[in-house]
C-alpha cells in the first residue's frame, strides 16, 4: 500500500529543540545541585566534586559531542529533504531482489 513520508522542517526542529532543551535542563539541574547541603559534610563535598568534575570540567567536550550529532543529523536530514520533501513509500517489509 502506498504511503507518503514527509521530510518537513517541523520534525527536524522538534528533534533539535527537544535535545537542546533537555541538555539545558540537565546542566541547569546539575548547577543547582552543586548547592545542596547534606547533614554529613563529607557526603556534601563528595557530591559537589563528582558533579563538578563530571559536568562542568568537561563542559566543552560535552557540548561539542552533542553539537556534532545535532549538526550531522540536521545536515543529513536537509540533504535527504533536498531530494523531495515528500516521498512515496510502500508498506512492504523489505525490497524484493532476484
Amino acid at each position: 500500500m502506498g504511503l507518503t513520508a514527509r521530510w518537513d522542517l517541523a520534525k527536524l526542529a522538534t528533534w533539535l529543540a527537544v535535545v537542546v532543551l533537555f541538555a539545558i535542563f540537565i546542566f541547569f539541574i546539575a548547577r543547582i545541585q552543586l548547592g545542596v547541603e547534606f547533614s554529613d559534610r563529607e557526603v556534601t563535598e563528595s557530591k559537589r566534586d563528582r558533579i563538578s568534575s563530571e559536568v562542568f570540567d568537561n563542559l566543552i567536550y560535552h557540548v561539542a559531542f552533542i553539537g556534532l550529532i545535532l549538526v550531522l543529523g540536521a545536515v543529513g536530514y536537509v540533504l535527504f529533504q533536498g531530494g523531495g520533501r515528500e516521498r512515496s513509500i510502500t508498506s512492504e517489509p523489505g525490497e524484493l531482489v532476484s
Binding site: L12, V19, I32, D40, I69, G76, P93
Partner: protein, 482 residues
C-alpha cells in the same frame, strides 16, 4: 608510551559515548520521537500487546517474529537488569528508578523507529529469505556519508561484540555459577571450568546454526528466565507489601528532590542499631544521571543493535516489527528493571551502601534467605547466556557487512571464521580472572557506545519513513481489530 596514549584516548571517548552527552542525545531523541509519534507507545499499548500473538507469515522473512523477539529479548535482558539497576540505585538513589521508568517509556518509541527501518530497508528473495538485513543497511541510505557511517557502524559493532557480547557474558555466567557453587560449599574454581566447557559446547551447537537456531533456543529460554525472575520479584513484593506505599513515595521524592537516609550495613539491617552507620545522600542530578544511563544501556534503544535481528523476522508490515520492539523495551525496562529496583527499595537494601549485583542480592536475601543465591545466580547465568547467543548474530551481520559488502571478501568463509572465533573466545573468558581482559573489554565497551553515533544520525534522517510506517500500521491494525 604510544599504547598508554591510545588507552587514555579510549577512556576519554568512553566517557563521552557512555557519559552525559550520550544520555542527553539518546533520551532527547527518544522524547522527540515520542512527541512525533503522538505518544504511540501509550495510546496503542493494547495493540502492542495484542500484536505479540501474531502468527507470522511465510514468505516475508526467515524466522517466526516471536522467536526473533525472544532472541532480541535475550540480548537486551542481561546482567544490566540486575547489576546495572543495583548500580543505578546505589549511585542515583531510589529516585533513579523514576527516571529509569521514563527512559523505558521514551526508549520504546526510539526502538520502534530503528526496528521499523531495519525491516523496511532489508532485501529479500521471493521465497522470503533475507539477502541483506540489519542496521548498516538502513544507515547507508543517509545521503553522501551513509556508506561511510554504515561501514563505521559495522566496524564498531563487530569490535564490540566479542568483548561485551561474548567475553563479558561468559565471565558473568561463570561468575554466577561460581557464586552459586560457593554459596552451597562447592569449589568455585572447578565450577568456572565446568561452566566454561559446557558453555563452549552449547554455544557452538547453537551459534553454528545461525539466526534460526539462536531464535529457536531463545524461544524456550527467554520466557523461562523472564518468568523465573518476575515471579521471584512478585513473591518479594507480596512479602514486603506493607512497605509498598512508602517505597513509591521514596522513589518519587528522590526523583525530584535531594534525598538523605540513614546508612545501615547489610549485617545490621533490620536491627535496632540500623541507623548507626552515618548517612547516604543523593541529589536529583544523580537520580537523573544514573537512572537514565542504566535504563538506556539496558534497553539499548538508539544503539542500533536490535535491528540486526528483527530484520530477519517474518513480517507483513515494517511497523509490525516496530511494535515488537516497543514490547521488548517495555518488558526489559518497565518490567524486569523495575522488579530489581523495587525489590531493592521495598526491602530497604538501598540503605546498606552496597552496589551492583550484591545490592540486588541483599534485597532478595532479605526475602528468601539461603535461596537468594540460587534465584539471582540462575537469573544472572541465563541472562548472560542468552545475551551471548544473540550478540553472536549481531556481530556476524556486521562482520559480513564490513568484510563482504564493503571489502568484497567471500561470504561463506568469512561467516565461518566469525562463528569459530566466537566459540573459542568463551573458555578463556570463563576461566581466567577479569583483570586479564579489562582493557580489551573497555575497548569493546567504547566501540559499543560508538555504534550510537552513526545509528542516531540515520534514525533522525530516516525518521519520517518510520513515523509514516508506524502510524500506518497502528491505524490498519486498529481497523482490523475493531
Amino acid at each position: 608510551m604510544v599504547l598508554d596514549t591510545l588507552i587514555d584516548i579510549m577512556y576519554f571517548v568512553n566517557g563521552l559515548v557512555w557519559g552525559l552527552p550520550a544520555i542527553i542525545v539518546l533520551l532527547g531523541t527518544g522524547l522527540a520521537v515520542t512527541l512525533l509519534l503522538g505518544f504511540m507507545q501509550i495510546r496503542y499499548f493494547g495493540t502492542i500487546v495484542r500484536n505479540m500473538r501474531w502468527k507470522g507469515r511465510k514468505g516475508g522473512g526467515e524466522v517466526h517474529p516471536f522467536k526473533i523477539w525472544a532472541a532480541v529479548m535475550g540480548a537486551t535482558v542481561g546482567v544490566g537488569n540486575i547489576a546495572g539497576v543495583g548500580t543505578a540505585v546505589a549511585l542515583g538513589g531510589p529516585g533513579a528508578l523514576f527516571w529509569m521508568f521514563l527512559t523505558g517509556l521514551f526508549g520504546m518509541a526510539l526502538k520502534a523507529v530503528e526496528v521499523t527501518l531495519g525491516v523496511k530497508y532489508r532485501k529479500m528473495k521471493a521465497d522470503g529469505s533475507v539477502v541483506e538485513g540489519g542496521t548498516p543497511y538502513y544507515i547507508r541510505q543517509v545521503p553522501f556519508i551513509g556508506p561511510i557511517l554504515a561501514a563505521l557502524f559495522a566496524l564498531f559493532a563487530f569490535i564490540a561484540a566479542p568483548g561485551i557480547g561474548n567475553m563479558v557474558q561468559s565471565s558473568n555466567v561463570a561468575f554466577g555459577a561460581s557464586f552459586v557453587a560457593e554459596s552451597y560449599g562447592f569449589d568455585p574454581g572447578i565450577a568456572r571450568w565446568l561452566v566454561g566447557i559446557v558453555l563452549t559446547v552449547f554455544v557452538a551447537l547453537v551459534v553454528l546454526g545461525g539466526i534460526r537456531r539462536i531464535a529457536e533456543v531463545a524461544t524456550y529460554l527467554v520466557p523461562f528466565m523472564a518468568t523465573w525472575y518476575i515471579l521471584a520479584g512478585l513473591g518479594l513484593f507480596i512479602m514486603f507489601a506493607g512497605n509498598f506505599v512508602d517505597a513509591i513515595v521514596t522513589v518519587l521524592r528522590g526523583a525530584v528532590a535531594p534525598l538523605e537516609v540513614a546508612k545501615t550495613t547489610a549485617s545490621m539491617a533490620g536491627s535496632p542499631e540500623a541507623a548507626a552507620g552515618g548517612i547516604l545522600g543523593w541529589t536529583t542530578y544523580e537520580a537523573i544521571r544514573y537512572g537514565v544511563a542504566r535504563g538506556l544501556f539496558s534497553n539499548e534503544a538508539g544503539l542500533g543493535s536490535a535491528p540486526n535481528a528483527y530484520a530477519y523476522g517474518e513480517s507483513d508490515h515494517p511497523g509490525r516489527q516496530g511494535f515488537y520492539g516497543m514490547f521488548e523495551v517495555f518488558m526489559d525496562t518497565l518490567v524486569i528493571c523495575m522488579v530489581t529496583g523495587l525489590s531493592i527499595i521495598l526491602t530497604g537494601a538501598y540503605t546498606t551502601g552496597l552496589t551492583g549485583a550484591p545490592l540486588a542480592m541483599e534485597a532478595f536475601n532479605r526475602a528468601y534467605g539461603p535461596l537468594a543465591p540460587l534465584i539471582i545466580g540462575v537469573a544472572l547465568m541465563l541472562f548472560a547466556f542468552t545475551t551471548l547467543l544473540t550478540w553472536a548474530w549481531y556481530g556476524e551481520v556486521n562482520w559480513i557487512y564490513f568484510w563482504c559488502n564493503v571489502l568484497k571478501l567471500p561470504e561463506t568463509p568469512m561467516r565461518w571464521i566469525w562463528r569459530v572465533l566466537w566459540v573459542i573466545l568463551i573458555l578463556p573468558a570463563a576461566v581466567l580472572a577479569r583483570e586479564y581482559f579489562t582493557v580489551i573489554w573497555d575497548f569493546a565497551d567504547t566501540a559499543n557506545g560508538l555504534m550510537m553515533i552513526p545509528n542516531l544520525i540515520a534514525v533522525v534522517v530516516l525518521a519520517p519513513v518510520a513515523i509514516a510506517l508506524l502510524a500506518d500500521f497502528a491505524r490498519r491494525y486498529r481497523e482490523l481489530s475493531s
